[in-house]
Amino acid sequence: MRPALQTRWRTGLLLAACLAGAALSLREAPAFHPPQPVDWVERYGRLRAALPQRGDVVYFADPALESSDRTGYFRAQYVVTPTVLHFETDPERLFRRKHPRPVLLDFVAPPDRRVAATIGRARRAAAQRGIETRLVKLGDSLFLVVAE
């Protein structure tokens, strides 16, 4: 192959790849997609003040809402850090420790019958161990149960 031709096909290939990449990148740019709300920062931010500023808290989210990738847990952990959140999925196990830690129940208000039943199970489990709990509503979307 002649040198000039060798140069041209390579340049042509790179030019085509650059133009295709630029077009695709711009097409995929967020300007063409709906913005993603970050209202969860505010939601968990209200919670931060209510939690101990250091130490550990057990986090229990509505199993119907918390996806397998634990989005709620990680978002809550991001906001309340350096308080450490322990992920728990079983309401019966929330208060099994000898020295129980504060428990955060992350549910959307108002609770439907299923959510109310879950909260009830957790509170009964606490009561059986002599642990007092209180239900706190933060804003219109969050309940917090604290075991002291």
């Binding site: 390579r10 630029a22 967020p30 850090t81 350096p82």
Partner: protein, 452 residues
């Protein structure tokens, strides 16, 4: 707002400090390409040890800035290197690079406006860790001990969180701008490192094409502003590969260069756990090539080791003292049986082909992977001979691809889930290496700088 520019300040101060380091005789471009590793990587190491000593995070600003200013103003004198004559003509490759930089900036700004806190992993891991080590009042040891109870991958190393936290200290407090600026800096640092490496092996026009193509690749622009550690790792990988390739040349410069290469090598495992595998692989490929070509010198090996020491020592302290869980024993359990399963190989190779197929569902690579494959493949086929640096790049890229295949075939996790959640990022980490390889297979005369 001004505090958000702290990462940029750290990079500029590092570039100035490198300018005064005469014994390394670095060119201007080399200093700027190295500056993010020294400024951001170095500050993450300092932050870690500062906090291990139990000192308050905010107080790091004074010694960090004092050290940087001292180094920048040290009486080493400025090297009087000659500038290469610059052409004022605007060739196609210059236009392509200008367009690519513009597209990259626009997409980064739009993406940061849409996701100011970064991608899922940035929220779950990287930025959360930065906030943790910045906010916690207790000493680092106690803090890490408690973190072992968290689900947020407490064993992940701290280059990115540490540099973000150090920038918080320099900038005077927490702001979402710091991880955003850090993320974009690493994106452009990776492009600049590709430019520098390709410039050396294939000339200026090829370097501009390479940087342009990297910057417009959709996958790169997705992860560039994502505030995760994959692009910092890609940057450090290509920086280390560049330094190691240079060590195989006859004109390898003073030993201080080997120490700088060692420094970036040591930062690889401090960035992500995969970095340990990649560092070991680069080192093995380099040692093999060096032994074959008899290019290894004990003095330079010692300099390389000394340069790697800060990163390796910090990682070792972190892993031995606080990292609660090593994934390697889990991985090795039953790995042989899994890797002998042909069905797993079929799934992994099929996923790889599907991921890179520009005409399939995975269009996030656009034509980039195909172009690199054609460019490198044809170059290799037409110029079969290989000098040591080129041989090293072939070994490093081939080895890292094989390594990733082995990781997936042997993974104890659900294979399809593992592939779908990480294959693109693992390929992104070695993408700059593919650029170096593909362009190094094409001599300078074969890429046009024809006038537009």
């Amino acid at each position: 707002m001004v505090g958000g520019l702290a990462p940029l300040l750290l990079v500029v101060l590092a570039a100035l400090a490198l300018r005064r380091w005469r014994s390394a005789s670095l060119s201007g471009a080399e200093r700027w390409v190295l500056a993010p590793a020294v400024g951001l990587g170095g500050s993450s190491l300092l932050f870690f040890w500062w906090r291990v000593a139990g000192l308050p995070p905010g107080a790091l600003a004074v010694p960090l800035l004092a050290l940087a200013l001292l180094l920048a103003a040290a009486s080493g004198g400025v090297p009087s290197g000659r500038r290469a004559p610059r052409s004022s003509r605007w060739s196609v490759d210059r236009w392509a690079l200008a367009l690519a930089i513009g597209v990259a900036l626009v997409v980064c700004v739009l993406r940061l406006l849409q996701q100011p806190l970064g991608e899922y992993d940035a929220v779950a891991i990287w930025n959360a860790r930065a906030l943790t080590i910045w906010r916690a009042a207790e000493p680092m040891g106690a803090l890490f001990f408690r973190q072992t109870l968290s689900q947020a991958h407490p064993d992940y190393p701290l280059l990115l969180p540490g540099s973000v936290a150090a920038s918080f200290a320099v900038g005077g407090g927490e702001t979402v701008l710091v991880p955003q600026v850090t993320s974009v800096l690493f994106l452009f640092a990776a492009a600049a490192a590709i430019w520098l490496g390709v410039h050396r092996v294939a000339g200026a026009p090829a370097a501009r094409w390479a940087a342009a193509l990297f910057l417009v690749t959709p996958e790169v622009l997705f992860w560039g502003p994502a505030q995760c550690a994959d692009l910092p790792l890609a940057y450090l990988l290509v920086l280390t590969a560049l330094g190691l390739a240079r060590e195989l040349e006859s004109d390898r410069g003073p030993a201080a260069r080997a120490a700088l290469t060692g420094f970036s090598l040591g930062l690889l495992p401090w960035t992500k756990n995969e970095g340990l595998l990649l560092a070991a692989l680069l080192l093995a490929a380099w040692l093999a090539t060096g032994l074959l070509s008899r290019a290894l010198e004990p003095r330079r090996l010692a300099a390389l080791g000394a340069g790697a020491l800060p990163g390796i020592a910090t990682l070792t302290a972190f892993k031995i003292l606080w990292s609660p869980h090593a994934e390697l024993p889990d991985f090795l359990r039953g790995a042989l049986a899994r890797s002998l399963d042909p069905e797993r190989w079929r799934v992994v190779l099929g996923s790889l082909a599907g991921e890179l197929d520009p005409f399939g569902a995975g269009d996030e690579w656009s034509l980039t992977a195909l172009a690199l494959l054609v460019l490198g493949g044809v170059g290799w086929a037409t110029h079969r001979g290989a000098d040591p640096p080129r041989l090293f790049l072939r070994l490093a890229l081939g080895g890292s691809l094989l390594l990733w295949l082995a990781v997936y075939v042997g993974t104890p996790a659900d294979l399809r889930w593992h592939l779908s959640t990480s294959l693109d990022r693992l390929l992104l980490q070695i993408l700059p290496l593919a650029f170096l390889w593909a362009f190094s297979e094409n001599p300078p005369a074969q890429l046009s700088s024809a006038r537009a």
